[in-house]
Each structure stands twice: as C-alpha cells, then as structure tokens.
Amino acid sequence: MSSIWTSFLEPFAYQFFVKGLLVATMAGLLCGLLGVYITLRGMSYIGHGLSHAVFGGFAASSVISFNYYLGAGIWGMASALAINRVSRSRRIGADAAIGVITTASFALGIALLSLYGNKGPSFDAALFGSIIGVADTDVWVVAAVTVFTVIVVLGRYRALLFSTFDPDVADVSGVRVARTDALLMLVLSLAILATLNIIGVTLVAATLVIPAVVARMLTDSFSRMLWLSAIIGAVGGFIGMNLSYHLDVPSGTMIVLVDAAAFCLVLMATGGRGLRGAAGLDEYVDGPLSLTPRATPSQIAP
C-alpha cells in the first residue's frame, strides 16, 4: 500500500509535473464548464472545429514568428465569430458552418507549416497534448482564462441560460443574444487556445463534450449540471495527468480516456436512464396535478 502511495507521490517532486497537473485540472474545469453551453446548444462539433481553426493561427504565427497566444487567439476568435454569424443566418446550419470554416483554417495551417517549416511550439504537442511542454506562462494563461470564464458564467448566468434555452424569446425579453453569443465564442476560443498544449487539437473537443454529457445524465437541473460538469472535468484532468505520467501516454489522450471511463460508469450506474434523458428519448409524462378549468371558453367572451 505504501509503495503505491510512494509511486503516486513520486512525480510531485518534479516541477514540470506539478505545473502540468495544475494546468490539466484547470483545463478540465474550464472545458467542463463551457461544455455545458456547447452541448446544450447542439454545437458539440464546435470544440473540434475551433481547435482545428486555432491550429491555423498557431501555424501562421509560427511562420511569421509572432506571439503564439496572440496570433492563434485572434485567428480562433475570428473563426468563432464567423461560425456564429454564418450559423445565425439560418440558411446554413451550425454544423456546416463549422465544417467549412474550421477545416479550411486547419488546411491552411498545414500548408503554411509544410511550406515554411515550424519555428514555434512543438507540432506534436499541439496535436495530442504534452505533459512536459508546460511553461510558467501556460499556467498563468490557463489560470487567467479560468478566472475570466468563471466570472462570465456567474455574472451573465441568466443571459447565457436564456439565450441557450430559447434565443428567440430571450431576444425579446431584454437579452442581447448576439452579444451574449459573441461573449461565449470569445471565452470558448480563449479556453481552447489556453488548453491546446496540454490537451491537443485532436482531443480538446472530447473534454468539452464528455463531462457535460455525464453531468446531464446525472441531473435535470441546469445549475447542478454546470457545477457537476466542471467537477467531472477537473477530476478527469487531475487523474488523466497522473496516469499520463505513470503510463507514459500523451496527457490529452489519458484525460479523454478518464472522461470516457466516467461516462461508462455513469451509464452503468443509471442503467441507461440518464442517457435516455440526455438524448431526449424520455416519454411524455403527465404532471401530478390535473387542473380543472373553472369555466368553459365560451364564458370568456363578453
């Protein structure tokens, strides 16, 4: 027992691991929190798409030796706003808008790196995440984005909830839906950008979607889903990073596998009831109260 404990504590002696663990836990919390809005808006694919779009900015800033965070951030934000704009037009669905804009951006990134070579951060780390590539700057960036996201989610809680539940009614009820959507896209772009090195382009979508889906299977309340998803994401990041060190597997891969294991556990524990709820397969249920009309409609007319 003591040898397991010693083995568990061993990596904590290394600064790179502690930094990686901190970033992975915060990244899990961040993605878990934002994933709730993304999945409920039917935009699960946006995490996958935006991470690929950010990769275009990553490559472009690498080619011109520009600051990675700034270059990829501007690129990602522009892509997110373009997706939001195109999908709101209703002529093209959100999935198609994401597919066109983000894959084009990813292809451009690959073309730039092929033509001019990579002068910036590791290509592999950007794709699959890395435990050793975490610098002090990364810790501070993820911490700042996490704090900013929590402030946005708490301070704009009702506007975000209303515009996610029913954007049309929210629009006529005092919510500036377009501005709220843009704010969410900004926070999402920042989150993907900040977590790219630790989780990787190819896997960041899973950390956005899986914790939110697991939380949805466990509750029917929005506020509970929000904090449950954040906790599941954070725990997934913490355990995944530890397993990544001990098994020598890329960090993003292990974080996603831990999240997926949580999904399977909850699925078994709820016997599929949670999944039916999450997928909208529940049958219509009559409430306990049967309200009897106190007058017939004809009595309304004067």
């Binding site: 029913d166 049309d168 009614v169 009820s173 029917d220 309340s221 409430g287 409609p297």
Partner: protein
C-alpha cells in the same frame, strides 16, 4: 386593434405597414390600432403574416414600408409556441421562470425578493408546488402556465402569444383560454395568433382576419362569416350558430360526396 374603442390608450399603431422576405410580401398595407385592455385574436392560414405581425409588435423585425408607433416604455412579454421548445433541456420550472429577469449582472441564485415573486406568480397560476420539477414532467396545460408565469414576472402591459393552443388537447385549450380571460379581466392586454376558429377564435372578444392584408376586424360574429373566411383562408366554409356562437364547418368536398 379596434376602431370602436377610441377613448382607450393606444399601445401600438401600425399604419400602412408592409413587410416581406426575398421580395415576397408577407404583410401589405396593414393598418391596425392596438388599445389597452383589449383581447385580440389574429386568425389566418399558415403564411398569412400572423407571426410577422407579432414580431413587428415585439420590435424584432422592422417593416419595409409604413409606420409603427409603440407606446413609450411599453412592457411587452412574449409566450412562444409549446411545440418550438426543447423540453429535454435541463431546467426546472423555477429556473425557467427566473429567466425573465436576465438584464445586467445577475447571479445564478435568486434573491429573496425574486424567490417570493416567483413563488407568488406560480401560485397565482396554480403550479407553485411544481417549482422544483423538470419542465418535461409537466402536462401541456402546466407547461403553458409556466411560460405565462415567466411572461408575467416581467410585469407586462401587453402579452403576445404565438399559437398558445397549438398541439394541446381540448382540456388544456380550455384551461389556457380561461386563464388568459382572467388575466385580461385584470387589465392585461393580450394578442394571440391562432388558426383554430372554433376552439379559440370564436371565444375571443375581438378578431383580426389576416391574409397578408387585414381582411376584416371586429367581434367574432362580424368576422366569422362565409365571405370573410373564404377571403382569408381561400376555402369554402359554412358558418352555423350554436348557443349564440358561430361554428365553422368546412364546405363539402366533391370527392367526399362521391364516396
């Protein structure tokens, strides 16, 4: 929207309003006056411009022609069609009702005053004990009451409802109409759209028949006539009288007679 109650305060006035999509006119030359305390039903077939008219009153679309005058500071609430709502969304009744206070920096949790307001509004509509329920667990009538509660929490002067009885059973339709009648008696101005002539329109105090243009406006006895219905719906309909109310019967189909 009546020409007989001119002494009342006008909440909204539409003067020769025109609106359309892709050069296709949806509304053309619509002139209406909506007065405080009225209960108006807008009837017409699909694509007749009912929803566009509501959107103009809500200010979410702007007419391409004509003039719209809305009373300064008018508080408007909107109740959507039940069929357009995602009932699987993870939200409880209380959470849904509280959405109507979204402006500015709002914390996730309700203030003590808001909790009392939500409870009182739900209680007024007879669903206070369902506050903690998931919205999917409500019956059709309870779901409509929840949305009415959300709208009422905005303390509106004017409530707009888009097909409030669409897709609900007869009992729920009676409940909803009765409830709206009570709210109107309490001074709330109401405009609803409907294509249900017998179940809804015939029971309302005032109707507007719309088919891109206003075909007729007035009491159901005046609006529900074979000529006006044919001009509005483009179909042959007969009107019978039962217990002092008009009842619309579809005209005979030739193939039905042959059968």
């Amino acid at each position: 929207m009546t020409g007989t109650l001119t002494q009342r305060t006008a909440l909204a006035e539409l003067d020769d309003v025109g609106f359309g999509y892709d050069r296709r006119p949806v509304l053309d030359g619509v002139t209406l006056r909506l007065e405080a305390g009225t209960f108006t039903g807008i009837v017409g077939p699909s694509g007749s411009g009912k929803t566009s008219l509501l959107k103009i009153l809500l200010g979410t679309v702007h007419p391409q022609r004509g003039r719209v005058t809305i009373k300064a500071g008018l508080r408007v609430a909107y109740v959507p069609q039940l069929e357009t709502v995602n009932w699987n969304f993870p939200v409880t009744v209380a959470e849904c009702v509280l959405m109507s206070r979204p402006q500015g920096i709002r914390w996730p949790w309700a203030s003590a005053t808001e909790r009392v307001e939500v409870h009182d509004t739900l209680d007024r509509l007879g669903i206070a004990d369902l506050a903690g329920r998931h919205i999917r667990e409500l019956s059709g009538g309870q779901q409509q009451r929840m949305f009415l509660a959300r709208a009422l929490l905005r303390r509106p002067e004017l409530m707009l409802l888009d097909e409030p009885t669409s897709g609900v059973d007869v009992k729920t339709r009676h409940e909803v109409l009765h409830l709206l009648g009570e709210l109107n008696d309490g001074g709330l101005s109401i405009v609803l759209t409907t294509h249900d002539l017998n179940g809804v329109a015939a029971h309302l105090p005032h109707l507007v028949a719309l088919r891109t243009r206003v075909i007729a406006a007035g009491h159901p006895d005046e609006v529900i006539s074979p000529a006006i219905l044919e001009a509005t719906f483009g179909a042959n309909m007969e009107v019978l009288a039962h217990a002092g109310m008009p009842i619309v019967v579809e005209g005979h189909h030739r193939h039905a007679r042959q059968a």
